[in-house]
Symmetry: C2
Subunit: 973 residues, 2 copies
Amino acid sequence: MYAALEDERPSLFEEKRWLGKMIGWSLKHEDLRTNGLRFVDVFPALTTTAMLMEHLEEYFGPLTSLPGPLHWALNLTSKAGRPGSAALAGLVRYGMKKLGEQFIIGEDLGRAVRNLNRVRREGCAFSVDILGEAVLSETEAERYGALYSDLVEALQRAQREWPPLGSGGDGNGLDWGHQPRYSVSIKPTSLYSQARPQNFDGSVDAMLARVRGISEKVMAGGGALCIDMESYQYKNMSLELFKRLRSEFPANPHLSVAMQSYLRDTDRDLVDLLDWSESRGLPVAIRLVKGAYWDYEILRTRQNGWEIPVYSGKAETDAAFERHARLILEHHGNAYLACGSHNIRSIAAVMETARDLAVPDDRCEFQVLYGMAEPVRRLLTRVTGRVRLYCPYGKIIPGMAYLVRRLLENTANQSFLRLMFAEKTDILGLLKDPVQTAEEEAKGDAPRPEAFSFSNEPMADFARSEERDSFREALASVRQELGKPCPLFINGLDRVTDDVVPSLNPADPTEVVAFASQAGRTEMDEAIVAAQTAFERWRDTPPAERAGYLKRAAGWMRGRSYRLAAWQVLEIGKQWDQASADVAEAIDFLEYYAAEMVRLGGLHPLPSVPGELNQSLYEPRGVAAVVAPWNFPLAITTGMVSAAVVTGNCVVYKPSPLTPVIGHQLVEAFRAAGLPPGVFNFVPGRTEVIAEHLINNPLVTTIAFTGSTQVGLKIIENAALLREGQWTVKRVICEMGGKNAIIIDEDADLDEAVPGVLISAFGFQGQKCSSCSRVIVLEGIYENFLNRLVEAARSLPVGPAYDPAFVMGPVCDGQAKVRISRYIDLAAEEGTILYSGETPPGGNYVPITIVGDIRPEHRIAREEIFGPVLAIMRVKTFDEALEWANGTRFALTGGVFSRNPRSLDAARKRFQVGNLYLNRHITGARVGRQPFGGFKMSGLGTKAGGAEYLLHFMDQRVVTENTARHGFSPDIR
Amino acid sequence: MYAALEDERPSLFEEKRWLGKMIGWSLKHEDLRTNGLRFVDVFPALTTTAMLMEHLEEYFGPLTSLPGPLHWALNLTSKAGRPGSAALAGLVRYGMKKLGEQFIIGEDLGRAVRNLNRVRREGCAFSVDILGEAVLSETEAERYGALYSDLVEALQRAQREWPPLGSGGDGNGLDWGHQPRYSVSIKPTSLYSQARPQNFDGSVDAMLARVRGISEKVMAGGGALCIDMESYQYKNMSLELFKRLRSEFPANPHLSVAMQSYLRDTDRDLVDLLDWSESRGLPVAIRLVKGAYWDYEILRTRQNGWEIPVYSGKAETDAAFERHARLILEHHGNAYLACGSHNIRSIAAVMETARDLAVPDDRCEFQVLYGMAEPVRRLLTRVTGRVRLYCPYGKIIPGMAYLVRRLLENTANQSFLRLMFAEKTDILGLLKDPVQTAEEEAKGDAPRPEAFSFSNEPMADFARSEERDSFREALASVRQELGKPCPLFINGLDRVTDDVVPSLNPADPTEVVAFASQAGRTEMDEAIVAAQTAFERWRDTPPAERAGYLKRAAGWMRGRSYRLAAWQVLEIGKQWDQASADVAEAIDFLEYYAAEMVRLGGLHPLPSVPGELNQSLYEPRGVAAVVAPWNFPLAITTGMVSAAVVTGNCVVYKPSPLTPVIGHQLVEAFRAAGLPPGVFNFVPGRTEVIAEHLINNPLVTTIAFTGSTQVGLKIIENAALLREGQWTVKRVICEMGGKNAIIIDEDADLDEAVPGVLISAFGFQGQKCSSCSRVIVLEGIYENFLNRLVEAARSLPVGPAYDPAFVMGPVCDGQAKVRISRYIDLAAEEGTILYSGETPPGGNYVPITIVGDIRPEHRIAREEIFGPVLAIMRVKTFDEALEWANGTRFALTGGVFSRNPRSLDAARKRFQVGNLYLNRHITGARVGRQPFGGFKMSGLGTKAGGAEYLLHFMDQRVVTENTARHGFSPDIR
């Protein structure tokens, strides 16, 4: 095979053609490849010539690696003014269209059918898949379903003209005598917008309902249907969906499912599926591919700290592919193999294995992608006669994501196609047994040094059934414990008081979660004295030892993370994933501050001259008061408390009255860690007691507060007043409110921007200080963005957080419900309600609200609402957007969706917020990676989870030693 | 010579003797040598067995290199309890005595004379020098003078018994026929305690007055006198002193002066002296030595950033010695050479040169140190017959400093004695021409990389006459400019107002330094608006460009540092050195913050995972108000203003009403640097205006204040109150008062502790926030310390700062004088006045006051006085000392004089002050090396001149970019 292909080149690498030339250049220069791929990505959004020209300039202007002719073209047109631009823009558009046509079978049904006619004339079968944007709403999902319907009808009409392929047919009208003449591939998530791993069963049900209709239609016309495989998080859903679908149509063997050899799970999944098939007597067809989301899987799992589901080496995947193919071929009685690869070593291995196992021709076919590796396709057609092209169909513009994946596949360093056709790598390496290569590579793998010792705690990965089960069990267990008393904890002892406040389930405020004891003046004073007393020894406890307590507390939390999260679901209405993230963040704070304290402990060298030794050290300040909010009831609490404790201060901690039980979890964690009595004291209390007897106490040196700006400012004022007997100017570490904006630039990727805004604005009901409450949209993209946003919002299911089917739940309490409802009334007065959702009965629910026509002077644009109310503001320019974004008293988080480097750069420089997020949601800062906190009226500039945070809880001392004695100093000899 | 000596060993290296063994061990282990030398240094202070044992344990216990027998002895005695301790202590004391006797001719006159008899019997002449502690007061100087008197009388009596040495005598009773039979060496600073480089003429006059009397006495008895050379700062004084003395006794050729070949100056000095001698017809005798203060000179000059006066390589010094000796020998008609070296190459060179030049024997002699290099001495005596031993005389205990110098000399890596006798280095290298060695070494010298790019601005080195002259001229010039108006500076323009306040010379309050315009509400508002307006562009000016303005301002200051300092002498009464230090510190702040801003500017990487790029950046806050004190009128002002400006804020600066002219220097510096209008505004003003219209202005985001705790707390309170229209929580950067203590441990080196306390307590009249106002003394050393302290204080001359004769001057103004005087009255009530000095007439003078019997509860021990009033507190233990030291509301600076590692360690851990100094004065923190600032009521923990200072003027922003586009991220390929 190699010999037959050696002198051929697929069209993509054909240097004589301009596309081949471009690809060739990009293979030589990494930055050109990166920016080229990014340009392809943004191209669909460049609706005007001006935008196109600006992006060309921004993407390619600064590149020194830009090939001469392109550089020349860019320069020339910028000099030639508008006519030049128009000419270049025309050329670029033409080129992109040609690029699209390389991979896409057609933009409309007419052209698609014409091209399919040609494909069949060339002797190949096909399967058509519909390209498109991400499906973000049920409206979009329905539109997608309709497109499939039209496609199937068109194929049914067209097939009448198609003689079956292959000579082996027995006049049954089937290709090669055994396969339908048309085939459709489908991605389940394109038919249902709300599939989520934590809602596994609900998602599968909903997807099945949609797929079923199309299946019926396909089969009615005698066609074949393949369930495509997407990213790992949907893999199990897709397999389950396939099984249920297959069971519903027992007589139809032309239902197939794709499986990805790069997944470590696939060995097991394949055995499962073959077992299932045999036990049910339902033959299956499997499209075996290597997998096209490798980069994405790496990113997603590395970002979440999850186990990486894909093989890290290319050779491992190649070896798995051969292994999987063999397994399927071994079961050829029940299983039909569609071998999807362009790698001639893989293909040859399948052919040889099939021959060895005497697999009949009608149990196996070969698939390649339309527009790629044509020499391979031609060879396969010649040799096997059974080749199917995977043919994407749809508008080229929204199909760019597919294009990027294909270009990536062709140009990746390890790409077989690149190596075979563009780089002409040595044949032995290319055709070598991948098992051997993988083994050799494994030997060379030295453990890579960690960039920094701390790593984030992984959140629960609800794509894994065991994690869903654990969470469900924890919820059930916690439910058994509701309604108990929640005591104070002072000087190492529990303390129950007569004054008790109930904590309620926001989804059902008649349900009491616990009865929380309240500290009075006496208890508060006792706690402060206990802390002050414990301070003497605690301050002298070595930093590493203090860090040890935090690490033990982290271990305790890690051991019962589901339980801890389950309490959050019930006490404050966090969704599963939100609650799980909160617990993971609490663990992060413990581990991170422990590591930081070890780093900061001891003596640090300062610049010195001979005879002089300068060193600095940090020491604690004394009693610290921690006043925490309910919205990150464990994470923020743990952050503030652990920072104070590990730095050597002793803490008097007051949780929110809404979350005493979650606050009390820290008591348990530190008790389990063996923290000495008095170092940490837990004192829920009423506002007057906290203000008068905690904040104002002269023994309190440091106050850590996270909460509303109003309360924060009051604390700052009070802390600044000197009290009788006070020896230290109080320091306030303070995180307050936000009025956070996301800017949608004209070239934003709405597939990312719409879900990014949704999660930022409505995640945990918009009750995060980081939540998005303003979206500032450039007018060129306004309509398009808003339509998709409203439809996507409309698709969000609302209900109690303990049911993972719901994306949004109740707000924290009745007062909040009233307050937010008033803001919704105000929104209607100041602007135009674009969407107001339904709310379920009972519970503190408020409707998801999107309000348009909001301007900077409106209260809705200025005041923090802390609920699911989103203001939409329309601007003419990016500069105006920045100005509006900065035009509030707050400066906490902000976001920009843009693919224009100039806009991103402007935001980097001038978007005045503590945490700015580019092209992603604006909530969910991770400890260590995104030190969190704002300025202006949002906070005092401290950055929780950052390298400077612990410094606020300590004072720095400098020690200067004269090391010379009578002119003798050891450091100058 | 080498052959004759090859098999000999001086007694110090004699391995058969215990001392030789010890030296041998210490040569092998650097830490043993260091701690051994340090133990010798502290030994005199170990007055009890317990102290001795503790120090042995502390110094030698932790050393792994401790030789077996010593380790064993240490262990054994610690197990054997008190009798064991007593035994070991006895041994150690005996050993130290023996060590002392090795180098010291005698502890009393009787023994000294007996040993001198022996020396002469062995054929050597001698010169006796009296050892002793540092001379810190005139009382001590007088005592020293008396000792010399007694010595001379004893020698005169003794010489009657001594036949002259040498056979060449003609019966004139002279040794070798030309030298008196006794010789005395003298260090001029031992006879006058107040010699200071800036007061050159006054110091020489005073020293001459004391030396003259002894000279007369020595000559009357027919003896010789040598003026010894000490450290470089006194070198020119000693030469001047010698010339004047020599002129006063033209007939006496037996007055000699020592010169040090390791000084780069000596080539020139020698030519000068020989010229002088010839032109005056006054023959001179020169003791040529290499120099014994090499380490000290390196330390002193490196610490002050001065040019290093000594050769850095040993070979260069050796070469210089041969060159200098040749020059003297060439002038043998006028000059007599005493060749002081143990290096046989040097000695041989001198002998050969003398022969070449046919120098008569009576124009040259050889000197070696008593107790060192005996084989060399014996050989020289045999060969030349003209050898003089330099014989220290005095108590062994206080002579330990001499001992340390000698041990250092014997054990230094490059020591000839060590190489020759202990290490038996190869002969060729040892005897090689040093010129050649020096040239070879120079070739190998690569420029060493700087550890950090910033380096401190050198202060004026008043040991150099050109710097004294420049200062004097600047003072005269500035005097011509008194009485002019001092305008405001707003938005780049000078502004004169009707409301004017005069600034007065504290040494003569009738003298008006300038008339300072005062800002009213209108001007203040204008300044704030100007700053706010300038902010828009300034914040976007690149950090490196902003840093450039600071560097230019620094250059401007550097170019007129004498003038800037001279204004301080007149406007606020700083002494020359204090004023010069203030200007150098101002330059340091400009350079340091410029370098820091370049470091902090731009984007900084944060930990990131694939597909995510996290970066942080800092940005300015807006309008900053700077309120500065008068006591470091340029340095602190420049520090706060330049930090605010370089970080991108715009500044409204209010100087102290006492120092408007010095404050205005910053206007001039920034004007010269071309700073854009509005970025820096200068608005002296009355308290009400500042409070109401600057601090409380809602546009002010940041307030930098240095001054009293009372005012600081008021500012903190006011800044915390939210004002209408305020968008940012104000941040206060605040340095306030201190009540700083120095602890004198039982084993303190009083030679260091007494002057350290003096300069800390009375430097600039105690008007520094870092000044020492409490000394806490362990009772074991109390009497001794106090006697020396009071006498030393009594010796301090008080008068106007423009006359460099005075160490202390007037306090800042009349109000301060009244306030401090009230505290002195209170001191008399609460404690016992131990010393109260005289004050000159006129000017705001208050007496230097030392008050004893002060306890922690006294107001004198608790309140900041800010004047030359020092409280003495007596404690039983070091723990108690720490407790008392920490027992105030302040935590700014503190100091410990101790040679006990355990005490130093306890202080390091538990002495709660922002800046702790061990074994040195507690004022004079240097930018970059000693970041300065305190906590508790002394400040908010900010550290001026430290790596974290600029952060307070900025807010940190974190930018998180999702770098993945449709699963493609450049960072994971």
